[in-house]
Symmetry: C2
Subunit: 262 residues, 2 copies
């Protein structure tokens, strides 16, 4: 028998936000978004119990299948990050953008479009409303800017929760200016600052920094309790099983899901 817990779904304000959300007149294909794959809302505890708020960027093809954000390569890296802080489940992850992006140059300038902001702020407000969030970590520049926009807005004016920025989990592009080591150095600094602020981890443990590269244990599986019922184990413990095709840099690109070789 399989006895995996699963995400029983959003409650309260979070549930409302999954029922009423901006459409493709806000996240437009002509602006580099992929509204055709539908919104992907969150991962983790959308029920008011989260104590760590994680902000990412936008969902990709893996997330179009799992219907939870940060469940592919970037997601497993982020999962390792929060688990280093002793957060095995007491987190809520949301993205700066509700829909996927196929062209960043076109889409990123819309980060602060009024309707994009208004909806995102409702998520931030819902996350903070129970008064349990002890820290916020933003991954990547759009996430950082999204949080800055919030705390400098009327809705976020009274918010004093600790915020730490960190590089995007896949900032170390091959041939790019940021190396794997640069990424992990940046994350080590972020971890240290966050570790001091988080008083109630799920598991109290000393902080172990990253080395020169991700160790296998630093890329844990996506917990079954973060995903819908029945998502098979291989989707949580491997990556790159969902690929964009035909052509990939396109609003209408298809997605192929392939079981990895045994």
């Amino acid at each position: 028998m399989i006895t995996d817990p699963f995400d029983t779904g959003p409650t309260g304000r979070f549930r409302t936000l999954c029922r009423t959300y901006p459409d493709d007149t806000v996240f437009r294909g002509a602006d580099g978004f992929r509204p055709l794959w539908g919104p992907v809302f969150y991962r983790g505890r959308a029920n008011g119990t989260a104590r760590l708020l994680v902000v990412g960027q936008d969902p990709a093809q893996t997330e179009a299948f799992t219907r939870r954000i940060l469940s592919g390569q970037a997601g497993r890296r982020v999962q390792g990050f929060v688990e280093k802080l002793g957060f095995t489940h007491g987190y809520l992850m949301v993205n700066a953008f509700l829909y996927g992006i196929f062209n960043q140059d076109m889409a990123l300038p819309h980060l602060n479009d009024p309707e994009v902001v208004a909806y995102r702020h409702r998520w931030f407000a819902a996350a903070l409303a129970p008064g349990r969030i002890e820290a916020v970590v933003t991954f990547g520049t759009p996430a950082f800017q999204a949080w800055r926009t919030f705390v400098t807005s009327p809705e976020g004016s009274g918010v004093s929760v600790f915020h730490q920025r960190a590089l995007h989990p896949t900032a170390d592009k091959p041939g790019g200016p940021i190396s794997r080591r640069d990424l992990l150095d940046n994350w080590n600094v972020a971890l240290e600052r966050l570790h001091d602020r988080l008083g109630t981890p799920d598991v109290a443990q000393p902080l172990v920094p990253y080395g020169a590269d991700f160790a296998p244990g630093e890329l844990p599986e996506i917990p079954s309790r973060d995903l819908p019922a029945g998502i098979p184990a291989w989707m949580r413990s491997t990556d790159f099983w969902a690929t964009l095709g035909n052509p990939p840099g396109n609003e209408r690109a298809n997605i192929t899901v392939e079981v990895p070789a045994p």
Copy 2:
């Protein structure tokens, strides 16, 4: 804004059944099943409010994506059927098999394997427990046999709920012995018998039988309230967007999801 209701998920006994279920030692690849895609549990009201119980056969590639049974071609035909009975949402659909099948000749003989039966009977018992189910309709021979097995078992011995069998929703295979007209004649008989037994439809309306073929309105969209949050509208109102590939008649076949042409 999109304001679609979504399925907020199974509750009570149904929730337990989505957390504890047979694995690939019961539904084996060597027996023609596709456990690699994970189980797909139900569609509709897994919360004790259903008054009509629908039994289908097994999930396919569309259902692997939506994570709800009967959401592809067969599902839209069944949706039209239950809506003719005035059931727009007061139904629960479950399958005879928890996992997909890639080879029926290999898999169907396992319909009554002890662990397959034990788990399926827990779903039937959970569906009947609130005492609200007024009728059961089984689509196809495996579903019919599954229900027969239940009502002749110790667990089902006191069950007297009305049962009606009907042909499988895609029994009209091209070149096969059953024509579209045969299928719809069979369904018209089933509809008439069920209509008399169902005292509390969601919408009271006269029964309108099928003609020689499905009319467009007889293939309604899968209601958003039956699917997870954020599933885009085109996945509910079109079909054949998910295809098996490489090679299709294989346990490990991949799935490609393609947005239909506008």
